[in-house]
Symmetry: C2
Subunit: 480 residues, 2 copies
């Protein structure tokens, strides 16, 4: 592996980042905020750094597999480092670690925050905060597919690196075209949600920020009370719908926009995702009815919102579910591990993996009494190749291993058991809020510095599906 | 599958149980207790039931695979039902469900109790309670290997059913001989521990009961305060040592008794088990030193005891670890999932499985950058066959699935999150005490009836390594 090739691409990515750092400036102008120089300076630093890296380090047409992995992992890391500049330069966040935490939380579409008073910040800074979500959200599927090929990087190996998950319905045509198509779907959904939110009384600014955070399954809001601040059934319904959509494989949306709506239901992962959403909402409503909510409509509104918010790993809040019956919290914790569909912007282990794990377990039991039967695990009509199944099972084992190890490190900082575990799953599954002292109405400000660093790594590990980052820790990765 | 063949064997097993029900009678005589008729009646009911079943249902020389599974699962269930008779007939436990809970906890060597006042019970009843441990403990490896072949049942398929875990060092000679050898090891260790405990001031009765509970990794004590009641560093040390030994693959002890002590260290699972024990003790000592214990000797004494007790899934207590620093509790919860070595009397997922899961995860990461390399997971010098690895991974997924589902059912009875999860892992891993309201100084009496039934199933599932029981739930198991 040649580190110079990697740095060359990272330089190019920084130049792209510098452009996106200019987007909050119109809002700074509109709201008469003094952050114009903040963003201009941040963009300049990124631009110069990027140019220097590109000049000093030679690039090449095709990246090797290892270089591909390095670009993906370090790309996200560089974005989190340089994307933190506006927070620091504007004085919105004093500590560099906190600023990186907030930015990594943005670009990994996690939504965990260290801010205690969101509404005190300049609106242009909060727009940048939402923007990190939007860039990161589709980034996982599209960004490096549309931009890196332009830089002469072969796309396919990176597509593997970005989405090692089971993607049965991967679109077939050329990667670069695919990227553009999915990007189009993403933009259309973002525009649609913004308009629908504005129809419910939100300003253009609030609508756009919340649409960014929804479609990316991020969860940063512009309000302290998150979506609860609007106290509108209509807005809750719109956001619930779009959170659900953001958790679906985007290639299915593409087919639907082409008129092939039936593809949704031909997709086994989607059917299981729908089943979990409806099932979990029903269980939440069952236990909340008469205890937390008297009206069935209210119950549906809040139960469905919380289900979609946690399952899709968005993390918006309209209710403090820590005040709900214990069983509903249990369901929500379970959803935290599942996450969205493969090929969506959602995090977690992914619905398809959970489905395949369950099927694999059943096949193992079946084999005990039919030892000579050959029974493969299927997803839809397609048999899952043994190597893919091995990889999924390995992912599950590693996911639980990382969860245990990171929770241990958090507990070592003195946090209680529930909060440690919840903080880790909230970041590892890219959700946002957890339980305990990092619950839906709390934040991560109080987590000790060492714990924050661990959680930043968790966000990155979770977003890049573990393997992509863990591979960098193999000694043999760096050899030769 | 012919259910009559299964009932025939179960009848024979009940006749064996009736004999073991006579063993507490000498203690009833010695302590002048009025429980002689209790045990005589219990034994008679078992004997008559067993004879009727054997008469009414025809047997056969060789059992099919399915019949083997049915014998194992229903065998444990029948023992839990009929073994509960002394509790009910003596009035020691009023509720039949509670009595079955206590007996299942005994035969599965779990050690969870619904008793609130242990020392009020007749000593002969407490002896029976310890006896259920002793029978169940070696039962998992030996009992049905020594008895069922005598009944003309082919042993090998049952050995598979009993121990589906990875047992690389399975002894080679004929199963029946193996069973007798391991039974010998078990008896020798039990006698040795009894004598050592008596040397520390325990009565023969107390020594024997605690040796039964230790070697079986059960955890039932004859005292309310468990082993803490003796408040002796010597006794703590003896029990710590024997708990550790009970968590080791018994075939290694057999080799050691034959003079081949080096086999311990040639066994990779043993080395990892030793590493976990020493490592966890060190971590516990690190966080307890100066906080809970001032003296290093005291710290070692209590930290090592609790580590061995939880890791081997015994569940004896000498300290209330819920008062320890949060991080030590985290370590103990982690140990709860691991359990003892394959081929030991310990429960949990087993050290070998955890080790192989970890290795499998590493291999998956390695494969990403060496996609064409063929790298198999090894245990010791032996490559693990892909089917075995698939089975282990399936076991892990099912274990977590059962843990989640059962915790959900417990939480549905109104228990809090931590206690629900802890109660399930405490029974599923056959440990005994958990955390929260089922912690080391609490008991399971307060768990609602439905929750107790779920936990009884968890004990059985965990003890028979999931597959053996789950296979009975497949519709195709009962077809034809």
């Amino acid at each position: 592996m040649k580190i110079t090739f990697v740095l060359h691409i990272l330089g190019a990515l920084l130049i792209c980042l510098s452009l996106s750092l200019l987007t909050p400036i119109p809002f700074a102008l509109y709201f008469h905020e003094s952050t114009i120089s903040t963003f201009a300076e941040s963009a300049l630093i990124c631009l110069v750094s990027g140019l220097v890296m590109m000049k000093l380090c030679a690039g090449k047409k095709e990246l090797s597999l290892r270089e591909g992995f390095a670009v993906v992992s370090f790309g996200w890391l560089f974005f989190a480092l340089f994307g933190a500049l506006p927070y620091l330069l504007s004085g919105s966040i004093a500590s560099p670690l906190d600023a990186v935490f907030e930015t990594m939380s943005g670009f990994t579409t996690t939504g965990s925050t260290i801010l205690t008073e969101i509404e005190h910040l300049p609106k242009s800074i909060l727009f940048w905060r939402a923007m990190t979500h939007w860039i990161g959200g589709m980034g996982i599927i599209v960004l490096s597919l549309a931009i890196l090929p332009m830089l002469g990087v072969g796309g396919m190996q990176l597509f593997q690196a970005e989405v090692p998950g089971p993607t049965a319905d991967r679109l077939k045509p050329r990667i670069q075209d695919t990227a553009k198509l999915l990007w189009g779907v993403y933009v259309i959904l973002t525009v649609a949600e913004t308009l629908l939110l504005m129809a419910g009384g939100m300003s253009f600014y609030d609508g756009l920020c919340h649409a960014f955070a929804t479609l990316a399954t991020g969860g940063f809001s512009t309000r302290n009370a998150s979506v609860a601040a609007y106290d509108s059934g209509y807005i809750d319904a719109v956001i619930t719908l779009f959170m659900f959509l953001a958790g679906v494989n985007f290639s299915l949306h593409y087919y639907a926009l082409k008129g092939r709506v039936g593809e949704y239901f031909r997709n086994e992962e989607f059917r299981f995702y729908l089943f979990i959403t409806v099932g979990a909402t029903a269980v939440l409503m069952w236990f909340n009815q008469g205890v937390v909510y008297e009206s069935v409509i209210d119950n549906l509104r809040y139960s469905a919102f919380q289900t979609a918010s946690i399952l899709t790993t968005t993390g918006f809040g309209t209710a403090d579910f820590e005040l709900w019956p214990v069983l509903t919290q249990y369901v929500l914790v379970f959803l935290m591990f599942i996450g969205g569909c493969a090929g969506s912007t959602g995090g977690g282990m992914k619905v398809a993996r959970i489905l395949l794990l369950f099927k694999h377990g059943l096949v193992q039991v079946y084999r005990l009494i039919h030892p000579r039967a050959i029974k493969l695990v299927k997803l839809g009509d397609q048999a899952v190749a043994p190597e893919v199944m091995q990889s999924i099972l390995g992912f599950f084992a590693l996911f639980m291993g990382v969860f245990v190890a990171a929770s241990f490190l958090l507990a070592a900082t003195g946090m209680d058991l529930v909060s440690s575990g919840a903080a880790v799953i909230a970041t590892l599954s890219n959700i946002g809020p957890g339980l305990g002292t990092v619950g839906p109405v709390d934040n991560f400000a109080h987590v000790p510095a060492f714990g924050k660093a661990v959680l930043v790594l968790c966000m990155l590990l979770g977003r890049l599906e573990l393997f992509t980052v863990l591979v960098l820790f193999l000694p043999s990765f760096w050899r030769r």
